[in-house]
Amino acid sequence: MKKVKIEGLEGSFAVAEAVRMANADVIAAYPITPQTHIVERLSEMVADGELDAEFICVESEHSAMSACVGASAAGARVFTCTAGQGLELMHEVLYIPSSMRLPVVAVIANRALSAPLSVWCDHSDVMAIRDIGWIQMFAENNQQAFDLTLCAYRVAEDKEVLFPAMVHLDGFYLSHVIEDMVLPDEEEVAGFIPEYEHPFVLDPDRPVSMGCYGPPFIYPETKKAQEVAFANTRPKIVETWKEFGDTFGRYYSPVEKYKMEDARIAMLTMGSCGETAMLAVDEMREEGEDVGLIRLRLWRPFPFKEFREAVKDVELLVVLDRAISFGMGGPVCSEVKSALYDQRKKPYIVGFIGGLGGRDIPIEGFKYMVSRALEKVKAIERGEEIEAEMIGIRE
């Protein structure tokens, strides 16, 4: 008998629940808003014996990720979570598990970066760690935060993958909001994430040297090997999501489409605002605009194929960035443009920056972006230069 439950859970608790069901061995984390509820809930679970794990209450995020690296190198299933400043403090360490092929799993409650201090959501923290070589997925609601955390373990630990994986959930929008969600049967979860054994661990019976020194005659080969192996995780991620869907009934894909069948205009979002954007699409559709929505579920490795396929018949692509690359515009927009640059047929691409530091983007915000984008297309056609516009700013 499957024991499926429906429960109202905060995004943070949903993540903690996934980690518990995944039966993690070692958790090392440091509190930071808006991630705190995840560590608090996991601490409780360990204290109550609901989860048999070592909880290392480290003195910094740098140490949190370092401890995860050590634990993973010793063969443990590990977990950490952080946000904003914490993710930046971890930055140096993030490259280690991806280069040493350690399947660390981390959840990030996305947060803006100082200064001024802001504990609220945007994607500045994520954009600063784009190139770390981790699998990175974006959740849009609490169910996805739960599901994707399970998928992160499954795919990261796959012997043909062995890369760390990160799930992004928007701080407060998901971490602190209670939503009804389906909690699957625990045994079924255990079946989906079987016990794993890393082929090379720190073990006195089979000594290995890890993290050696790579001079120029060998360093580039190690990076080539890493990039090839990382690119090869794409089909594995898709396969994992398919299996997840077949087991639990919820399907995910690298690029998720909403009302895109006949869409002339597409919006592109990542994270929780995809839900508001869908409502905006519904309204615009009623108003007669052929708008659809693309949500990037998979951020790294970038899903080139699926993305190009999704926009192939679109005339205008409107990209929302919740971060700024100072002096460059929106980072997602830049990437999307580069992903399409060598396509023979490509849409106009107009980028907007919004939702910084927790500023809400209401339905009107999305409608505004579409109408402004149409005006900007005319400007482009007139040969004018356009720049990424920041929306919702009081002048």
């Binding site: 061995d25 370092s66 050590g70 890890m210 050696c212």
Partner: protein, 311 residues
Amino acid sequence: MEKEEAELFVPRLVTTEENFASGHRACIGCGEALAVRHVCKALGKNVIIVNATGCIEIISSLLPQTSWCVPWIHTLFENVAAVVSGIESAYKARVRKGKITPAKEVKFVGFAGDGGTSDIGIQALSGAMERGHNFLYCCFDNEAYMNTGIQRSSSTPYGAWTTTAPVGKKSIGQMTWKKNMPEIAVAHKIPYVATACPSYPFDLMDKVKRGVEIEGPAYVHILSPCPTGWRCQPNLSIEIGRLAVETGVFPLYEVINGEYRLSIDLPELKPVKEYMKKQGRFRHLTEDVIEKIQARVEAEYLELKEKAGVK
């Protein structure tokens, strides 16, 4: 040299097993590599070593070769104690959950230089000691950032020349006193703290063995003469290490559960000058500076004796 009759051939007292293999790339006369060799002999096979960035990591792990015959991991410069925490916790959890059943108890050991310990790695180390992980931490103190070219650290002694504490019209070199890292470890009230030096190999090995056997965090601070950085003859490393001890510049002691014990009681200290004159890094020092150093060394040695209850 006259032929001497030896009652005991000392090297036979030590295992011939080398877990830190020869052929590494350390400079001639490197006291740090020698210390690592002794430590590894004391540790044996059932150990996992975490190494910070620094000379030891660089000289021992140039791809595709390795000097390590025991499991060894290097990740970054400042996080050794945190990585050890993770490994120790992984073993704890996995043994408890029945996922692994090691035949023998595995020991967890961190290696770092003085920079990796008393400067950039002090936070991670303090955290790991405070949390009480069961591990041994060895600081190989060659009194500067040698790997990057002899820059000063907080462990560089007063008056020493380094490339970032150069001697000049307005500088005598290092203008600050050496940070007392063993005392910082003691302040964490961990069960075992010791100082050691490869010039006293048996003492060093004993301390390493005691450190790993004790349940909880253990810290061993090893003065490691570095001919390259100390500007001395490579054949003098051992002698200079001895002089550091005999002059009181680097006293050998243990602190077991808070109790101080001098490893060698020196009724009389040799003048620090004897130690300093063999090293180019102190060559520029004037008599009055040396006197100042002498006075400080004596005072600190007295303080230590008092703690150890030695008259």
